[in-house]
Structures are given as C-alpha cells and as structure tokens.
C-alpha cells in the first residue's frame, strides 16, 4: 500500500515538475519514469501513474478554473465539447494527461520486464 501510494505521489510530482520545462508530453515521461523505476505489476503501474497524474492535473486545473469562476472553461467546453459543462472540460483535460501517463507507465514497466529472467 505504501508502495502504491509512493508511486502515485511520485507520478503526480514528476508530472508537475517535468511540465515546468517540458511540453504537454511530460505526462508520457512521468509515466514512463514511474514504470521504469517503480517495481509494480502492469495494473499497479498504470493505476498509480494514472491516478497520480489525474489528481494533479484535475486538481490544478480545477483550482485555476475556480479562480477564474470557470469563465474560460464554459466557453471552451461549448466550443469543443458542445456542452455547457466546465466540469466535463476539466475532467477531459485531466484524463488526457492521466491516460497518457498510465499507458506510458505500462510501457516503462514492460520494458523493464524485457530484461527480467
């Protein structure tokens, strides 16, 4: 459990830190690194990266959008999702980073398994 929590926290922190100087695909790198460095099964790798990144991304975006009283989120949600739902846009934004981090984590883990006898 501690390991799962640690992997989740590390995923989130890595994603945030890498995003400060890398473009949007920092979520892949964060997931990949967690997969490479944290010894877990595939499911755990995916979930820890997914949850860690999702929490950070959704939390950060929700905070930013709340401070903005969702002015922009409402407009963008209508523009690209055709829905008057800032919450949906926040979820989609977070999920994109989370899914990419999760799949990258499995790739990282499976890469390590290639060398395991």
């Amino acid at each position: 459990m501690i390991k799962l929590s640690a992997a989740t926290i590390i995923s989130g922190l890595l994603y945030f830190a890498l995003g400060l100087f890398l473009p949007w695909w920092s979520s892949f790198i964060a997931g990949l690194l967690v997969g490479l460095l944290m010894y877990q099964n595939y499911l755990a790798s995916f979930l820890t990266a997914f949850i860690g990144v999702c929490l950070v991304a959704c939390g950060y975006i929700f905070a930013v959008s709340s401070l903005n009283e969702h002015i922009l989120a409402k407009r963008i949600a209508l523009l690209i999702l055709k829905q008057d739902s800032p919450e949906l846009l926040i979820a989609v934004s977070g999920l994109i980073s989370a899914v990419t981090a999760g799949t990258a984590a499995i790739t990282g883990r499976s890469f390590m398994f290639l060398f395991k006898r």
Partner: protein, 812 residues
Amino acid sequence: MKYLVFSITLIINAALFYVLGTREILPLPLGSFLNMQEGIWQNAEPVAEDFSENLKLKGIKGAVNVYLDDRLVPHIFAEHETDAYFVQGYLHAKNRLWQMEFQTHAAAGRISEIVGEKAITFDRNQRRIGMVYAAENALAAMENDPETKSSLDAYTAGINAFINALQKSKLPVEYKLLGYEPEQWSNFKSALFTKQMTNTLAGYDRDFEMTNALKLLGEENFQILYGQLPDSLYPVIPNGTVYNKPLAELLPPETADSLYFKRKDSVAISEDFKPNPENGSNNWAVSGARTQSGKPILANDPHLGLTLPSIWYEIQIHTPNYNAYGVSFPGLPGVVIGFNDSISFGFTNAGRDVKDYYEIQFKDQQKQQYFFNNQWISTQRRIEKIKIKDAQTFMDTVAYTVFGPVTYDQSFKNALADNKAYALKWVAHDSSNILKMWLLLNRARNLNDYVEAITYFNAPGQNMIFASKAGDIAIQQQATFPLRWKDQGLFVMPGFDSSYMWKGYIPMEDNPRSFNPVEGYVSSANQRPTDSTYPYFIPGSYEVYRAITINRKLASMYGITVDDMKSLQNDNYNVFAEMARPILLNYVNRAELDNDQKRFVSLIENWNLKNDPDEMAVVCFENWWDSLQTTVFKDELTDVQNSLMLPEKFVLLEALRRDTAFKFIDNIKTPEREDLNTQVTQALKKASMQLRSLQSEDKLKWSKFKNTTVYHLLKNNTTPFARSGLMNGGGKGIVNATQHDHGPSWRMIVEMTTPTLAYGIYPGGQSGNPGSRFYDDFIDDWTKGQYYKLFIMDPVDVKAGKFKWKMSINPA
C-alpha cells in the same frame, strides 16, 4: 508475452502521442491545447487578478506609470510622448495582441497562412485591390515625417517588448486554437491597419451593379431608381448654404455618350468582400447657447461591425504636453475618438465614392501591356506570394496600370473574354500620413489647431466634429475627394483614354464645413453632406433618416444636459416608418386580409413608431415594407447573369409619396396592370407567411427577431466567444443604429466644462482574452443604454490613490 505487452503499449503510446499532438486526426491538438501548464488553462485569468507590476523595459527614456481603474482602463503618465506611445503599444499587445495581428494579416491578404486554402480568394482580393501597395505608400509618408516616425517607432517597440517577453504558454487563446505564433510588429503593420480602416469605411463601391442597372434600365429609369438626392435630405451643411464656385466647369469627354453612358455590354463581375455599407456613425456638437452649463457638448457614436475583441481600447495618455482621453485603435498610437483638456473630437463616415473601376484591354494574357492613349503601354507587374497553411505558396501576378492595380482579370475571379480586365483607381492608394492628424488632435488646444490637424487626413473621408472649452463648435467633411464631371465614376469607365481619368482633387478649402453656425449645433449621420447647390459632383452611399431625427431633435432642444444627449444617442424613433406607414395603411385592401394579417396591420396601426426591444410592430412593418420593395422592383430588376442592386430604401418611399401611380408599381411580367392597392396587399400577404412563422417561434418581438450579437472576430467558428441574444432596440435608419451585428461601437458624450465631464461605453471589454472577466464586461450596460463616467485622472487623483492597480515601468 512480455514482448507483446511492450509492443502493444508502445504502439498505444505512439498513437496517443500522434492523435493528441497534431491537427491531422482531431481539429485540435488536445494534448497541448488542454494541458494545464501549456494550454488554455494558462489563459484562465483569476477574477481577482492583481494587475500591478514593476517592469524594466529597454527602449523607454524615463519612468512611466500606468494606473489602471476598476474597468481596466489604463491612465498612462509619462514624461516623454514617445514613452507614452511605447507603453500604449505594450498595453495594446498585452490586451489585444491576437486581434491586432489578425486584423493586419487580413489587411495584407495573409489569412491563408493561418487557416489554409479556404481564405485564398479573400487574400487574393486584398492583394488585388492593392492593400499592401497602399500600406507601403502610407508607410513611406508616415516615416517621412520625423514626429510620426518617432511615435510609430516607439509604439512598435512597445508592442515588441511585450511579444519578446511573452511565454508560449501565455499566448492568447486564439493562437492556441489556430496553431500559430505571433511575429514581430512593425510600423508597416500600423500602416496596414490604417488601410484596413480605409477599406472598411471607403471601400464600398457599386460601379459594376450600376453599370448593369444602366444597361438594363436606360438612363431615364436609372435616374429614377438610383438618383442620389432624396427629397427628405437634411444635409450635414444646412440647405441654403452658399458655396464657392469652382474655377472651371468640368465636362465629360466627347465620347462619353457612346462609350460611357450608353455602353453596349454588361459587366460579369460580382464583387465579394464588400465592406458593410452601414459602416457609419452619428455625431453632433451643441454650442453653449443650447446647453444648461453654457459650455458645448459633443457626442459621437461610430457604427461598425460589433466584434469581440472590440475594435476600440479605452485609454488616457497624460504627458507634459497634453492629456488625452478616449478610445484608441489597437494597432495605432494615440487617441482616435476623444478629448483633451481643451477640445473634443469625433468622426462619422462621409460615405463618398472614392473608388472607381476602369475597363482595361490587355494586349494578351501575359498582362504586360495595355492599350492607353492609342498605344500599348507596359504594366508594372507585382508578384504576390500568398503563403498557404499546409499547401504550396500561391503566386498571383497583379498588373499595375496608370490607374492602379488590375483587380479583375482572366485569372481572378471571373473568366473575362478578349483580354478585358478592370483596374482600380482608389484614394486609399495615395501616399498620406493620416496618423499625423491624430497626433496633432490629441494635443490641439483650439479651433485653429483642429483645422490644421485635419488637413493631414486624406482617406477615408470623415465628418470631423469639434467642440472646445473656448466655446467653439465645428464640423468639416475632410479627405481628398476626386474632382469629377457629372456622373463620372458612377459606372465602369473606359480605361484606354486619359480623358476619363479623375481631374485631380476637390480643393480642400471647398470641403463642406460649418464653424459656429447660427443654429448653435452641428451634426452628421452619414447623409449627403450638402444640398444640390454644392458645385461638385459627389456620388456616394448615403443614409437619409438618422439625420432627420437628429436635426429635428437638436433644433428644438435648449438647456441641454448630458442626460439629454444620452437619450438622443439611444433614441429608437423610426422616422422612415413615420413616412412609410401611411402608405401601407391607406392602400392595403383590408377586406382581402385574414385574421392574422389583420392583426399585423393592427399592430402597425397602434405602434408608437419606436423600435423598442419588445415592440412587435417593427418586425411586421420591416417585413411588409421589404416585401413591397421586392414586389415593386423585382420584375424590372432581374438579370440572371449580372449583379444588380435594389434601389436605396428612400427611393420607393419618396416615389410613392410623390406619386401613388409610380411607374414601377405595375408588374411587367403579368398581363394585368397592378396598382398600389394590389401591390401593398400582395406584399403583406407574402410577408405574413414569414410573420406567422416568426409568431409561432415567439420571435415577433423586435429584439428577438433582430438577435443583436457581438461576434468574436472568427465569427461562426467561435460562437461561444460571442455574446448573442442581446435585448437591444434600434436598427437601420434609427439614431440608436443597433442592427443584428452592427451598430454603436463606442458611445461618447463630452461636456466641455472645467473639469471636463465625459461619458462613454463600448460593447466589449478592455481585455481581448475570452478567459478574462474584462473580456465582455461592458456589454450588458451597453445593451441597457447606460454609460460609464470617464475617469480623467490627474496627478491629484494619483496622490490620493484613486486607482486599482499600478504598473511601474522603468528603463532596463
């Protein structure tokens, strides 16, 4: 198994990376677009944002302080004028960068670079009407004047100081949507902006439609339908004014009758991208003799396409030399409509025709020579390179003649036979430094300064209104206007004979003007500037009815207050309907009407003639009258191959007021002879189908039918960035000229007391960021006809801390 898992997840990752990182699969690269540190979330400005900051910028000479009030209006306090322009550029870029660049890209015919091939016809059109050529000429004139150059240089440097420090993550939302990045600003872009404005206000033209109408109707009928002097004209300069006689009378060339007035063929050109002929404005100034305070009051409301971000950006510029307040154009330094501590100034569009087409005969398809004055003359060929997003650059060869660029030829956009082409002669191409006028007006102190300042302005023709604390009021229609023989330029002219060229320009001292008239007020509303005694031929696209309402009201007003002026700017009275309603009501055959139709008539009968938001009679009246116009004219004005234009609205009204047996009433396509009763009744029956449908959709109320909308500049591509369904009254021909997406883009009233009292509002907000609370925060108040008291900050206010945020800017 482990190889399989690795391979599959690697493929999934690669696929996700591709799908989320490009625009090939999805319309947007959602990976970056929705990323928390790179995407649009970085544009979600906190509603409690602190705009105070300390900046050190290269390029300014001394310290500049910018005090922002609670509406985010900047009050720039600078020791050097150029520093003020530098900071104005910085603020324009900070708040409106995408808009500024997009508008100048549009001016230069560069939209294909951003949106791809779908804009290629637009871009070619811009190049072919010579927008870039015109901007080059303007830039040369502006940079030739040391003061203008230094102001522009500073303004440009300020914009670039912002661009150079801008992080990619903070790019305006529209760049992220469209997938490109800003380039460096230049003085040339400001020149392009002036030409965009000139095209908007002096680019409307109907030479081709009029040529075809003349051919179809013959001279006599043409004059009836397209004459330019309405009976109800209330000119800018009052009827009866005595004008100077010109030095010599201008006569048409000897060949004009056969080659011009009775040309044998129509013109198969239809112009796209015509500017909206409704681009206009109201302005008036009343003298102290008519006001409660004893000081003049000036009012101005320019009517333009209503857009977000707004065309205007409110600003105060305070330097040791002057203290100007008003609205500016993001793209140009200075205050464009406003006032200073001594004077106030504003503009309405003159609507004069300053754009003519000449028919050119090329020697061959190479477009290297054209026939002129009995010989083949070489063209200058300009290769326009139009870059296209995701496609090869398009090369367009535009031939330049003695008149100007050849807009239409075999390659664009109609296939013209026999190497025929149409060259454009347009005042906008002339070299001029119009920016100088604003730089001088901003610091003008009296009537003489105003008179001197406006001489620098050559296009687009404007009715320039003025009021001063010294008590003067004035209006002058100012620009360089072509000197023409009667009817010259109404139709396409022969391009092989120099005798059809413009005969120069009307002397500036003969431009219509009125300084301190005995009436105690001056005004304009895009109407013809003078009565028929003005000794020059001045065709144009003129409005008739707003001027009538304004003059009627002003003539009867004394003890005027600012509130009276607010009421007048928001006046919804429909003077056209006042004149037209009796015709409809007197000639409709009521016995033939069903219950719905009777109800529509009854609504109009009981209408107070105001285009108020909840009024249903307006919709009934408008639809009925439009239907009558079509019923009366469509039979005569049908030409399946060539473009035509219905006569102006006043033509039918005035014809019927003069003679109810107007010769065009009969439908020539039927064996019977229709009279006015028949046509008025028929028109209502046709209109009632539409009215019934509107009634069932609950859209019979004027504001619901009109659906006033302030569109984002990307129009239907970004409807969530627009504000629609606004409950505005007003309309075409109404002083409150609010139409569906067009209308009062800035309402300003200035009372020249000490201290100056000024009020204003525009339908937008100071920020261009759709993620800011300052993006559209003025719109609701604008819809209600409310105003903000303009805070003219002085050093005492600064000391008292009467500001919300402070930007301290120092040299780096």
